[in-house]
Symmetry: C2
Subunit: 479 residues, 2 copies
């Protein structure tokens, strides 16, 4: 049964999403157009995502740094495709310190241009390469239609920027980030399976040679781009004069990459795992993995129950992120509801009868109601919970993978495509042009999400143009 | 002997500072007025400061959250003193998405106003109090004269914002942050002793009831404000309608606080411990605590030396932050210099003769030259290093404390004051007015840094007005 303040998914999926964001106290709108306030619970989830990404970014040899928020407008103008892509959606600072500025600044929509200026200074010889930098920052893109986490005017992200001596090394970096940093984090920590592949020309980053992406399926069958990695070729290197001297003393332009993942990931998390009762968090990511709710009537009972919980949880500090909810003025039912809405993986109840019997009641968030509740002995509880958390992590991943398989279709022709793409991903042979993509988007709202890495060797017929081709594509409506 | 690219302190202290920032690759100027680029080594130090502060902020019950970068100009106007203090130095966004905005936004110079709007929504009853929030963010104040880390147009900081039911609780919070979070971190982790006390009316935060600060002495005798904590009284609560219902159902305004520490702390670090050879980092904070430099001539020697280092450092991953500098194209001398400039606490050299003798050469950064170099046995090296790092942490703190004591003076009259305040802190009886403070600043550039908590009970004569008073003050020229 759905919670009173959460619209069921089947009734109105978009409203369900907004209700979860509000009920789980993740974010709220602000007085600034399109900007949200990320509330403590939402921010704790972002901190967990940050930590998991930052660990991987550093383990693969990158260092964090910080570049200015403001970008001189002239920098943005230097790369032709880039300015065309971003100029329409920037916010501009035209006054400061009480005076009109002679040259306006834009608030960074992304930092290729300002970082390009630094890279040109930092890189002299082949020994300075590869240069592997990452930045955690806020960026701003003036969007017309916004939705918390999914699309906001200001958002938080990391943006990696690297420079290499050869095209091959830049390509290897671009793919390594996609696979070993983004896909690895999203699949293992967030328990969301992703498709990996190349973006079409129409969908690539403004100024890139090639954009790769990971795409996740939400429970309404739509796609959410969960991370992108761009091989920028020598485009930005030429615009910003990022050059190096080779071992045999020639001067060459560098090959650069950039890649980003943002607070959008929190939107993916909600829509990949959430249910009609609220958020469902994978244990690896959950800020609180276990909540203990004491059950008692009298003060004596309260004392005994809290003492029993104390004993049981003695060594949990180093093993689990857990919380004792001992708020005296709230009923257990109220607490159950609150932690369910917030998606805490495991709930433990312990009352006077449990003390007698040496048991606790254990409820799994991923299995609502009776199915997920069991009474287990206090002996060996810690090990049992460790097992259970690992099992739940796998269950969530498997469930999302099964859901995606059940909502991924083929389509022999455009009519079949139109029907199928309303229900999920459509995996097709594709030989169309950018103009064809535009037409399909106009007709169906669907776009090519990726040309997946995982391509079969066989040839087939393009559902749209009828041409024979080996190229396959995943189409979907996207967030 | 000073390094070629670092001006000695005695020759030009301000240039010495800039030289260290450049030579240690901490930051550089950008194309944006007054904004710096924080380079990887500088940012790693900021990450260490962040981690140490964040741990303390969370341990004292605060949660992180995130509020918009932009503030509607009308919000800033709501608290009279606040707007007067900050309006002259804000940057304004007047165009966005290609259109003029009907109401301009300012880039946050600090977030009391935008957070006040959220607090008014979040707080309903006494049960919602205290509300304890912190934000890690970039802020912007359009400064005329900037210097890397010390004063930049954009800087990174944390800003805590809390709301309480009573004045007493708000005061307790304000002081707890000053003592248990800021002073504790700066003294224990950064090894910089601080004075704690109250700011005068003239020096307090715009809109606060009372501002408390910690002040550190730099090696030129000037003060650096290393953290401030403000009791905002009910000023912001009244302007933003931050109200709560008491247990007996009355409506009351909350009492709020705010407190911040920023990338300025990196400036303090440089100027408290640095020497003519470069940065000197306290082991607790250093991103790299130990660097190992292999000494060899032939490839065979190289193999044997690296194998020996491998054996010695086997279990260091969990104990130390350490680095093997095995770059083959650089001489040991070049490496020594680089890590000295970067302030790495300990250097270990190991060569073929050390393998024979079962020793390593150990060099302490806090004792340059022969005095800090010793040859020790490989047996028990790990334990010896642990001891040594703890000892160096204490040494740096003690040295800074002694320096402060040697540069803190008394002054019986204004003539003596004028001479003394060029050399360090002046600890005096003080019964002057705000106008007197202005006059003293005009005459000497010195300001009241704090009315220290540590006040003696005896009465004395104010050096400036000649009045008898119990109040004492610390004057200094400040960064």
């Amino acid at each position: 049964m759905a919670k009173a303040n959460i619209t069921p998914r089947a009734e109105d999926y978009a409203q369900w999403y907004l209700d979860i964001v509000a009920a789980a106290e993740m974010a709220e709108n602000s007085g600034v157009r399109g900007c949200m306030v990320i509330k403590p619970y939402g921010y704790a989830i972002w901190e967990a995502i940050q930590a998991a990404l930052d660990r991987r970014i550093k383990a693969t040899g990158h260092s964090n740094a910080y570049f200015p928020l403001l970008i001189p407008k002239s920098y943005l103008m230097k790369e032709a495709e880039h300015v065309e892509g971003f100029a329409p959606e920037v916010a501009e600072v035209t006054r400061a310190g009480g005076e009109e500025l002679s040259e306006p600044y834009v608030i960074r929509p992304t930092s290729e241009t300002i970082i390009g200026v630094s890279f040109a200074k930092w890189i002299k010889s082949w020994r300075d390469l590869p240069l592997l930098i990452n930045q955690w920052a806020n960026v701003m893109r003036w969007e017309l239609r916004t939705r918390p986490f999914l699309r906001t005017t200001e958002f938080l992200w990391q943006e990696g920027h690297t420079a290499h001596a050869t095209e091959e090394e830049a390509e290897r970096e671009t793919l390594m980030i996609l696979n070993d940093v983004y896909a690895d984090m999203v699949e293992r920590v967030m328990a969301i399976p992703v498709l990996r592949g190349l973006k079409t020309e129409r969908e690539k980053f403004a100024g890139a040679l090639r954009t790769y992406a990971i795409e996740a399926m939400m429970q309404d069958g739509r796609a959410l781009q969960a991370g992108t990695s761009h091989n920028l070729g020598q485009n930005f290197a030429r615009s910003f004069e990022i050059k190096y001297t080779t071992a045999d003393n020639r001067e060459e332009f560098c090959w650069t990459t950039s890649w980003g993942a943002s607070t959008r990931l929190i939107g993916a998390l909600i829509m990949a795992h959430g249910d009609d009762d609220g958020l469902v968090l994978p244990p690896e990511l959950a800020p609180v993995q276990i909540v203990c709710v004491p059950i008692y009537k009298t003060d004596d009972e309260r004392g005994a129950v809290l003492a029993a919980i104390n004993r049981l949880t003695e060594n949990w500090g180093a093993r689990f992120r857990w919380k004792l909810d001992d708020r005296a003025h709230l009923t257990p039912g109220f607490k159950f509801n609150e932690w369910e809405v917030k998606g805490v993986p495991l709930r433990i109840e312990l009352g006077p009868r449990d003390i007698e019997k040496g048991t606790v009641a254990l409820s799994r968030r991923d299995m609502p109601g009776r199915e997920g509740k069991s009474f287990v002995t206090q002996d060996g509880l810690t090990e049992r919970i460790e097992q259970l958390l690992a099992e739940m992590q796998q269950t969530l991943y498997d469930r999302a993978l099964r859901f995606r398989a059940e909502h991924t279709f083929e389509a022999a022709d455009y009519e079949e495509f139109k029907a199928r793409v309303q229900q999920g991903f459509v995996h097709v042979y594709w030989a169309g042009t950018g103009a064809d993509e535009d037409q399909i988007k106009t007709d169906t709202k669907a776009t090519v999400r990726v040309l997946p890495f995982d391509q079969s060797e066989t040839e087939g017929r393009c559902f749209y143009t009828g041409q024979r081709t080996k190229q396959q594509a995943i189409f979907a409506r996207a967030y």
